[in-house]
């Protein structure tokens, strides 16, 4: 089964106990004004352009089917870009990067299980994060079930905006859940996160 992922981050020591790999999933119901990963708001494929790394070789332009130039940060070119990622594949400096990719559960498992020994020794494991990890409920379910069965310590970082009953099987596998309470005031919350608080309270009181 495939899901939308921003990146896998090994050697995370601030996302739960010990040494962990954090899986950042794409897609989020909120629109926090301070979000540091706005590319994860939706699951659309998109390509980043890091100007500082670029050496101007132009290889990317040779594979672009919408005939974009080098600078994706130019609004006109950004508009044309459909995030296919072909340019990122050829860039020798990783100046172009696929920000949201589709990954199979099996691919992710292969990657994260490499560090089993480091997790064991440190009391670490795997953390699901994002974006909002609970938005891809089936994907998260299959992934967490597989990793749970393999014996890993599992943690989850969430904003709490999900259907508690529907997500119960997943929650039961977690050793640790971080809930990020964005704001106590419903109006401010609506302004900041573009969603009212009501549903929130339901989840956090569960």
């Amino acid at each position: 089964m495939k899901g939308y992922v921003m990146q896998l981050q090994p050697f995370s020591v601030n996302d739960g106990e010990g040494i962990r790999t954090t899986i950042f999933m794409a897609g989020c119901p909120l629109r926090c004004k301070w979000c540091s990963n706005p590319e994860g708001f939706d699951q659309k494929p998109k390509t980043a352009f890091y100007e500082k790394l670029c050496i101007g070789c132009g290889l990317c332009t040779t594979v672009c089917h919408v005939h974009n130039g080098i600078n994706l940060n130019d609004p006109k070119q950004r508009e044309k870009c459909d995030g296919c990622g072909k340019c990122a594949d050829v860039c020798p400096k990783n100046a172009k990067k696929r920000m949201v990719v589709e990954k199979e559960v099996s691919e992710i498992v292969e990657e994260v299980k490499k560090h089993r020994l480091f997790y064991m020794q440190s009391g670490g494991g795997i953390t699901f994060s994002g974006g909002e990890t609970t938005m891809q409920r089936e994907f998260l379910n299959e992934l967490s079930e597989t990793l749970y069965d393999m014996g890993f310590h599992l943690a989850m970082e969430t904003c709490g905006y999900f259907d508690f009953d529907a997500l119960k099987p997943v929650l039961q596998r977690m050793d640790l859940i971080f809930m990020d309470l964005k704001h106590m005031d419903s109006e401010k919350h609506a302004y900041l996160q573009a969603l009212a608080m009501k549903r929130y309270w339901k989840t956090s009181n569960a």
Partner: protein
């Protein structure tokens, strides 16, 4: 901060004073040799040692509790013309100004040495004999070339010894060793070759024992003299106590912790005076000193603080003398380091955890004094107490680069693979850099430096040096005509085997000369079995005689280069061999895009099997090829991946390489990734390094990692570091060491060295003061990727 004001004063003097050359030892050594013409060389050297002990200036410096020095200066380097003097003659006019490891020396000193010392040694030194005896071919490849280097074994004494305090020195004292030698002499006569040779050996032992005892007694006399004139009552009492101690050790077995400490330093001093050694290792200090500490502490004779103070005094004594070396050697062993390795922790001979109170005190002494010696290492086994691991990671967090962290089990395994009995193997300590060692061993642990990247250069440049154009190695066809990846590999391995062969030839020559010219009676007295066998170390008197170690430099650069060629030229076919060769011939100038693509190819140190498999193959071949050869005692040569600072001089002599590296830039050291290319996490770097079958390289393996300070700033972060270390060792690796100083601090220290005199950094296999490193060395340390955490 040091434990006491006293130690702090000594420490500040150590930090702020410059090392100076003393010719006293060389002068006495020379005069002595003039008087012993015609005598057997072992006797001449033993007599010279005695004469040095009897005539060398005796100095007790302010605040000292442990006494004994090598010359008239506190920070002092001696000359040993019997090994080499021509480089001294060539280089001493620029000793004070050379980029790496400068020494102070006056014009008067230089004039004296040129008039009274060097002339005697002309045509008599080890260096001259070696250079006269090697072939032109070996000279072309292996003398001052940076392709193969063995000069520490013919411009210097061997060193590389761990004294046997446990079974020899503390048990018998040098007085006891002397009596033993005399007893053997009484039973022998010179009616056979064996008898005659043994008598000569034992006579040399008697002389060196008399020598070191005489030296100690002279310190006793000096202390008493100084006490008589000392106005301060406290200091007076200290001096009288020093006198009492010097009366009894090292002639007799020590009876207290204090006596054991002074005994240990006199032994160290004896070794230094006898050969200006590198890697004259204190060994398992926490094991052999503990019984004395325990008894004294329980009897109320000493407090923990007093012991801590003594240990810190010893650390500074170990740091104050200077291993005098040529500019070439200084490039390979940069930073005034003497590589005196002191190993704590691990398991006992019978397999129990060996950690004791002294183990912790040693860590604390390094933290307090920031002394660059001893080379503090720790042995970590899976059941190492959490508290000890916490103390180790705490010291790492201080950013000194200490301690060197070793897998107890891998060291054991390396020794078993080299032929040691399991019980002895379990009792291992480190020699010098990261070599697993044992106190009953004769071995050249750092015999040859082998430049792997040079082999690749010769393979891709028709056997010629890319920088000089000179033909150095074997013939090879035009690299632009290589039509398969296998051809490239074959060409590399061909040149590689050739370089190994030249290293072996160089070392066999050196070994033979050592036996003839420079026997080591003092060191032999410190190693069990030399007495029993009646044989000097050079003749194989030790219990274990292990083959010389050839250390590989640049495995990451070669693996990365081969991977780039394999992928781009032969798999993707997006580049031709001709383009790559043209690019490196032009030092990548005008080939930016190609360089970028080559740099984007898989790199060792990122847990990528594509390139890690190539590295593993190279390592395996290295072991097998080296192992084919046997030394003059019939022992297999060994392989290793040590670092020291050898990755600089070996890079300086090479052109650009196919991995994207530019000409003359440093290559890689040990099993560490090439600087800046481990772009994943340290976990990935560790996994790559662990794939190299480390335990077959019985000369040791070395991994350097830079970590961002954030990881180790808290206790919890340090616990994570401990987990990383245990995991790395569980993967089969032998050693890792961490630099946790921020780039910012290093740049500041570069700009304002006067404010950062005591900043210690990890080079490779040792730590030294950052400000004592040449700019190119400093830059190479700064360039190492500092791994961030998330």
């Amino acid at each position: 901060m040091s434990i006491t004001d006293r130690v702090e004063r000594i420490r500040l003097n150590y930090v702020n004073s410059k090392p100076a050359i003393s010719y006293e030892r060389a002068r006495i050594w020379t005069e002595s040799h003039k008087r012993t013409e015609g005598q057997p060389v072992a006797i001449r050297r033993a007599q010279a040692f005695y004469d040095t002990c009897n005539e060398l200036c005796v100095n007790i410096f302010p605040d000292e509790l442990i006494v004994g020095c090598t010359g008239e200066f506190r920070k002092c380097g001696i000359l040993t013309p019997e090994f080499s003097w021509t480089w001294v003659d060539r280089e001493m006019d620029t000793f004070a100004t050379r980029a790496q490891d400068p020494y102070e020396m006056t014009d008067e000193q230089r004039a004296f040495v040129r008039k009274e010392i060097f002339p005697y040694w002309e045509h008599k030194s080890l260096e001259e004999a070696f250079l006269a005896q090697i072939s032109e071919e070996t000279k072309r490849v292996a003398v001052d070339t940076g392709f193969v280097d063995t000069d520490s074994k013919w411009r210097q004494a061997v060193g590389e010894i761990t004294a046997d305090y446990q079974d020899v020195l503390f048990k018998k004292g040098f007085g006891g060793i002397k009596k033993e030698a005399e007893a053997y002499l009484a039973e022998l006569d010179a009616t056979s070759l064996e008898g005659a040779e043994k008598m000569e050996f034992y006579r040399s032992i008697v002389l060196v024992c008399d020598g070191i005892i005489r030296l100690a007694n002279r310190y006793g006399e000096k202390a008493r003299e100084m006490a008589a004139e000392e106005a301060d009552e406290t200091r007076k009492a200290e001096l009288l106590q020093i006198a009492e101690i010097c009366d009894v050790v090292p002639e007799n077995p020590p009876k207290s912790f204090r006596e054991a400490m002074q005994f240990m330093w006199f032994t160290q001093l004896g070794g230094i005076l006898s050969e200006n050694p590198l890697a004259w290792n204190p060994g398992r200090f926490d094991q052999y000193m503990y019984p004395y500490y325990k008894v004294d502490k329980e009897a109320g004779v000493i407090t923990a603080d007093e012991a801590q103070e003594l240990i810190e005094c010893l650390w500074l004594k170990l740091s104050e003398w200077v291993w005098t070396i040529s500019a070439n050697t200084a490039d390979f062993f940069a930073g005034y380091n003497q590589f005196q390795n002191l190993t704590v922790g691990g398991r006992t001979r019978d397999g129990k955890d060996a950690t004791n109170e002294l183990s912790y005190m040693c860590l604390k002494a390094t933290e307090d004094t920031l002394a660059h010696q001893p080379g503090l290492s720790v042995r970590i086994h899976p059941d190492t107490p959490d508290e000890f691991m916490a103390a180790v990671t705490h010291l790492v967090s201080k950013g000194t680069g200490f301690p060197a962290i070793h897998s107890d089990n891998a060291g054991y395994q390396m020794l078993v693979n080299a032929g040691y009995d399991p019980e002895d193997a379990r009792d291992w300590s480190n020699c010098g850099c990261v070599v697993p060692h044992f106190r009953k061993t004769g071995e050249w642990t750092s015999a040859a430096n082998l430049n792997f990247a040079a082999a690749l250069e010769f393979a891709t440049n028709e056997g010629k040096s890319r920088l000089s154009g000179k033909k150095i190695a074997l013939d090879e066809k035009d690299p632009k005509t290589f039509s398969t990846y296998e051809e490239v590999e074959e060409a590399f391995y061909k040149q590689f085997a050739y370089l190994i062969k030249q290293a072996v030839i160089s070392l066999i020559t050196a070994q033979r000369l050592h036996v003839e010219m420079v026997p080591r009676p003092f060191m032999s007295a410190c190693i069990e079995d030399c007495m029993k066998n009646g044989k000097d170390l050079t003749k194989g008197g030790a219990k274990y005689n292990i083959g010389p170690v050839i250390t590989g430099i640049g495995i990451a650069v070669v693996a990365n280069s081969l991977a780039a060629i394999k992928k781009l030229v032969f798999e993707e076919k997006s580049v031709t061999m001709a383009e790559i060769i043209d690019a490196i011939n032009n030092n990548w100038e005008g080939y930016d895009e190609l360089r970028a693509r080559v740099q984007a190819a898989p790199k060792y140190g990122n847990d990528d099997d594509y390139v890690d498999d190539i590295a593993r193959e190279i390592g395996n071949f290295f072991y097998q090829e080296v192992h084919k050869y046997k030394d003059i005692n019939g022992n297999h040569f060994l392989s290793a991946f040590m670092g020291i600072s050898n990755y600089l001089p070996t890079g300086k002599v090479l052109g650009a390489t196919p991995d994207g590296r530019k000409a003359t830039e440093p290559i890689s050291e040990g099993v560490s990734p090439y600087v800046g290319t481990d772009t994943s996490t340290p976990l990935a770097a560790m996994r790559s390094a662990a794939k190299l079958n480390q335990d077959i390289h019985s000369g040791g393996t070395l991994l350097n990692l830079r970590l961002n300070q954030d990881l180790v700033a808290t206790k919890r972060g340090q616990a994570n570091l401990g987990a990383m270390i245990q995991s790395y060792f569980a993967l089969g690796a032998f050693h890792v060491q961490f630099n946790t100083v921020s780039t910012e601090t290093l740049r500041k220290a570069q700009a304002h060295p006067e404010d950062y005199k005591d900043l210690l950094v990890r080079v490779a296999g040792y730590s030294t003061q950052f400000v004592n490193l040449s700019k190119s060395m400093q830059d190479s340390i700064i360039a190492r990727n500092a791994h961030e955490t998330f």
